[in-house]
């Protein structure tokens, strides 16, 4: 069985799945729009959570939150199911496919056989759509891939029941109700307000203050942890910022694309200007990644390079603080 699902490649998996599923259900919404309305732009530093033996830094909110917020703001209904038994999870998915419903799944990356080996880590917040089933395989639309692909029945089962942090527990989701007319304007404004609130939050590890916190830590790492560990941590930051799924510059370019679309819908020229500014900030993040990669490539042991990197990051934090204050004003 196969549903007539159209695959579109996207930068980030969760936006991509949301956008593709909604397009399938007759609501034409772009990836940046999903990202902006779902308040996908974020920054958080989680020192107590270790990923691959380095402190976790995330440029995105909790898995699932983008689609949930989007649904709430557009008045869509989404059904989410988790399963304690693998047999029930398989049954529910097959039932959906029989009823011609392509379904989104949260999966672990480690056993995704179509990914290059280097990308297979125990990361459990990846998303994809299953749109059909054959005797041996499931038909997969993974939004970060150029084309559709397949997984065997056993392989899909394995990725659905990957273990560790954010274990997906077979999680499956699909829209059950999509209204014909949605209030895009209101949803955009809510999404932007939410993002401004997150990024300007008075919490030391979140948003602009989180970026500053990390910037200050970069200065300390080589002294406290040694250059080897410091370089490993830096590499981790760059990976979180640039790896598949961010669209470059830690999601800043997707957000700029969203602001550009929003400017047209809200007929607000200020947003157009702010989109350009966000692009410049994204370029600064890219420059930061270039500088950081130079440090861990040359294995430079000077303490000074870490200070320079830290200062670069502080400049970005200042720019973003000004930016989000302006953005808040622009839509009020």
């Amino acid at each position: 069985m196969e549903t007539n699902f159209a695959h579109h490649q996207s930068a980030h998996c969760e936006n991509g799945v949301a956008s593709n599923l909604l397009k399938h259900n007759g609501l034409n919404i772009s990836e940046p729009m999903v990202f902006g309305i779902g308040s996908g732009l974020f920054f958080v530093y989680l020192p107590f959570l270790k990923v691959n033996y380095a402190p976790a830094i995330s440029y995105r909110p909790m898995p699932g939150s983008i689609f949930n917020k989007l649904a709430k703001r557009l008045g869509l209904k989404i059904k989410r199911q988790k399963f304690s038994s693998e047999a029930n999870a398989i049954k529910a998915l097959d039932e959906n496919l029989k009823n011609n419903i392509p379904s989104g799944l949260q999966v672990g990356v480690y056993n995704l056989t179509y990914f290059p080996d280097e990308y297979r880590f125990h990361f459990n917040a990846h998303n994809l759509v299953v749109y059909g089933k054959t005797e041996t395989d499931y038909l997969i639309s993974d939004p970060v891939m150029e084309n559709v692909t397949t997984l065997t029945h056993a392989e899909l089962n394995k990725v659905r029941f990957a273990k560790g942090a954010f274990a997906p527990r077979g999680q499956m989701y699909y829209p059950i109700q999509v209204p014909a007319n949605v209030d895009l304007k209101g949803a955009i404004i809510k999404g932007i307000k939410n993002t401004c609130r997150d990024m300007l939050a008075p919490m030391p590890i979140i948003g602009v203050r989180g970026i500053r916190y990390v910037a200050k830590l970069i200065k300390k790492w080589p002294v406290k942890e040694g250059t080897k560990k410091a370089n490993h941590y830096l590499a981790q930051i760059v990976r979180m910022q640039e790896e598949i799924g961010t669209g470059g510059g830690g999601f800043r370019f997707i957000y700029a694309a969203f602001l550009q679309e929003a400017a047209v819908i809200l007929e607000n020229d200020e947003l157009q200007k702010l989109s350009l500014e966000m692009t410049t900030i994204g370029d600064l993040w890219r420059d930061f990644a270039v500088e950081a990669s130079r440090v861990y490539k040359n294995r430079s042991t000077k303490v000074d390079v870490y200070n320079t990197l830290s200062d670069d990051l502080l400049v970005i934090a200042d720019r973003e603080e000004v930016f989000f204050k302006k953005l808040k004003k622009a839509i009020s």
């Binding site: 930068a11 270790k50 280097e118 150029e146 640039e242 790896e243 598949i244 370019f253 550009q260 990644a289």
Partner: protein, 134 residues
């Protein structure tokens, strides 16, 4: 990022003929999407992490050969896991998993427990019991 500046470096993706999608601006400053084969700073960052893991695997291997830790520790590193991930795969407390790292404790483990580990590592019990260095 401008569209004509989207990096097309060789990397881990281009080896597999994959491309990723990025957002960039065209000549008029309007946003559009473009495909990228890779970007050097990213490749370096990823290789750094892979090297780090290879080092950990090599250390674990040497330790198993010297009978300092059990093969469970080696396979954990080999599968890019840490204790938290492994304990959640086998459904046991972290302290219990840590205990199984001791060669003496490992030697006395029952087949049913070894089976859990073997399944998590995607290997057979025999491979786990008769550790070979390659």
């Amino acid at each position: 990022m401008k569209k004509d500046e989207v990096p097309q470096d060789k990397g881990n993706l281009s080896n597999k003929n994959m491309k990723e999608l990025v957002y960039a601006t065209d000549e008029k400053g309007n946003y559009t999407t473009a495909l990228s084969t890779g970007w050097e700073p990213k490749t370096i960052a990823l290789s750094n992490s892979i090297e780090e893991i290879s080092e950990r695997i090599a250390i674990a291997k040497a330790q198993v050969e010297n009978n300092e830790v059990s093969p469970i520790c080696y396979y954990m590193e080999f599968c890019r896991m840490d204790i938290g991930v492994l304990s959640s795969y086998v459904g046991m407390w972290q302290w219990r998993v840590k205990r199984h790292f001791k060669p003496r404790v490992f030697a006395r483990l029952s087949d049913s427990i070894l089976e859990k580990y073997a399944e998590s590592f995607n290997i057979t019990i025999e491979e786990l019991k008769n550790f070979k260095t390659n």
